[in-house]
Symmetry: C2
Subunit: 382 residues, 2 copies
């Protein structure tokens, strides 16, 4: 059996993250129609081009009235008026200046509507420009566009927006180290994670890995120790391998560098749990930043008590899967070393134990990152 | 001015939800490739067809050894062996039965590797089938497939899966009640919300609204009171309008029923905030259930203290936007009646005040639904 050289000097996770953060930034802006802007990140502040609303209109469904004609109206003193029913958002009829809500008005059998509450001029009315005057900022740059933001932009009659370009993420399956099973397992996982983080995944072979046209290259597999590190060899030959090996478990054989053209390139181990965690910690961070998102892990963090000891090796930053207990605490599950991705699938979240720590004793409060899958969170949804 | 009849007997929100829950269920299953299954919901339990792993393999990067040859090794008593470097996930070489982690082994200048810790047979090894035996359940039906679940399925060499079919959601812009501005504002918002909830949006005109081919029809606008309720008239004429008007603010003019062909149909007010909330409370609920997801609101709920009084009308279920304060409490923002969708965009979450409640006094604990936009949540991410 040949003896091969392992990585001698793995980078700390902190140094790898600092390298990545210094190596990339938000991508340039591109214009897209509002109808295709869902999930995108604004590249600029959005100002109202027109007043919103563009005319005085009803704030709720009710009867448009001249406010002064309702003076003195009350439950014991209804005032019957000829009043026009208006829907929320509808313009006020000429001459009216207030809206009596439906529940304070009672249409009469013959004609007219009995008002049982007085209103003042402007009550339940959106004045022209009341929501936003022309030029007012509606959304600030860096806002991620969800349904309600898109609705506001459409209300403001915006049709095209400047958003941050989506990073083109080249995924290269370099092949497994020694087990055929590894080769097929990472592509669907990493593509889904890239899409989650705002990237546009594309898949190529190792031959085209380091050609131009991508914003970041992820080479999966072939990072193994010794002769199995063909990805590291390929990157070092065609560009620059700045970090070779990281003190992260799972994920020790990750590599980080640049192609000859200067494109960020990351080597992710082929073993699925290691591939997942080097993606989450390093590749995803770069992609999220390029896409204009918060670069940090896209999981909510919450202090929780661990009911059992969490053990970790000093000198390695370790990801420990945890699950909820009925008593509201968490406990470690099988490790990634024991059950691979199955540990991630069975977990409700994870704890990151720093390289200077041996872990956490039972009963201590730990920072838990929560997957927040619907139905499993200890905080009810309804 | 003509006097028009408002809805006389609006449904309670509870009754509307009960009607919707009784009216629809999870759609049938369809087979998709693993590569296209991201975000989908499993329609069946997934069992391992083969043992995972399919051979004994290394659980972490290290040196494959015969465990008995490391007996007695320690920091002060290294044992030098001819050992083979293996990467995590790699099959163990013939004759070896344990892996010494890289940090407990030191390759020698000339030949061999010094082991500074003894291992037992099976240490740091995934035995064939140890993660899952053939036939073991890997994921249960109803699981939503994210990156880590897709990775596990690919590890198990699954290529096609049965997932719940995505509901075809027909969005019909019926036109505004009285203001041209309303017409354009709802489409992008509702399409984004439908996609968020797992539906496939398609847009048609009112003429084709109630034809076959959709799983649910959302008619937007034309729900206004009186003569402006052309959508309600159209649905009542071509099918059945079971609920006309709901005691929800914003959203009083919503309608719920079925087309002549029996397809669920919902009439959403055109005013943007009312459109958003009737979508979230009613239409989205039906779509999420059809898609196999949790039908409840897709927002995390958390008890928080309100620093200011939240006011609501008795007899109406009211959505009140709230925002975080630096002291960790929440306070109501401008109402939807005052600033429409701008209130939703400026909010960090919302409170649902039931129709039997006048609201909540300052200092009381309320259930807050959180938008959880990254960077704004009081729970840090990192």
């Amino acid at each position: 059996m040949a003896v091969m050289e392992p990585r001698s000097n793995p980078s700390s996770v902190e140094r790898a993250i600092a390298w990545i953060d210094a190596a990339n930034g938000r991508l340039a802006a591109e214009a897209v129609p509002v109808s295709e802007a869902s999930g995108r990140v604004l590249a600029e502040d959005i100002c109202a081009a027109y007043p919103i609303p563009s005319a005085d209109c009803a704030a709720l469904d009710g009867f448009a009235v001249r406010a002064r004609e309702t003076l003195g109206a009350g439950a014991y003193h209804p005032i019957v008026l000829a009043a026009c029913l208006v829907a929320a958002g509808g313009a006020l009829p000429e001459g009216t200046d207030a809206v009596v809500p439906l529940e304070h008005a009672e249409p009469q059998q013959d004609a007219g509507v009995a008002m049982v509450e007085a209103v003042a001029a402007g009550d339940n009315v959106h004045r022209r420009g009341a929501i936003a005057g022309a030029g007012a900022i509606l959304l600030t740059g860096s806002t991620r566009l969800g349904p309600r933001q898109l609705g506001l932009l459409a209300c403001a009659r915006l049709t095209r927006l400047l958003v941050v370009r989506r990073p083109r993420v080249r995924i290269v399956i370099a092949g497994s180290v020694m087990s055929g099973a590894v080769e097929d397992s990472d592509g669907p996982m990493i593509r889904a994670a890239v899409e989650r983080d705002g990237g546009l995944p594309e898949t190529t072979g190792l031959a085209d890995a380091f050609a131009a046209g991508a914003d970041i290259v992820l080479v999966i597999g072939g990072t193994g120790p010794g002769a199995a590190d063909k990805s590291a060899t390929a990157l070092a030959a065609s560009g620059e391998l700045s970090i070779r090996g990281v003190a992260l478990r799972p994920g020790e054989t990750a590599g980080i560098g640049r192609t000859a053209g200067g494109t960020l390139a990351m080597l992710l181990p082929g073993a699925p749990a290691a591939c997942l965690w080097t993606y989450e910690m390093f590749a995803g961070r770069a992609i999220r930043r390029m896409a204009g998102r918060d670069p940090r892990l896209p999981f909510r963090r919450r202090p929780m008590t661990t009911a059992r000891k969490i053990v970790s090796a000093v000198g390695l930053t370790e990801i420990c899967a945890v699950r909820y207990r009925p008593d509201g605490a968490v406990e470690p599950t099988a490790s990634f070393a024991e059950t691979g991705l199955k540990a991630a699938v069975e977990a409700d979240g994870f704890v990151i134990v720093s390289e200077t720590s041996e872990g956490h004793p039972a009963g201590s409060v730990v920072d838990v990152y929560l997957y927040d899958d619907i139905g499993t969170s200890p905080e009810a949804r309804a």
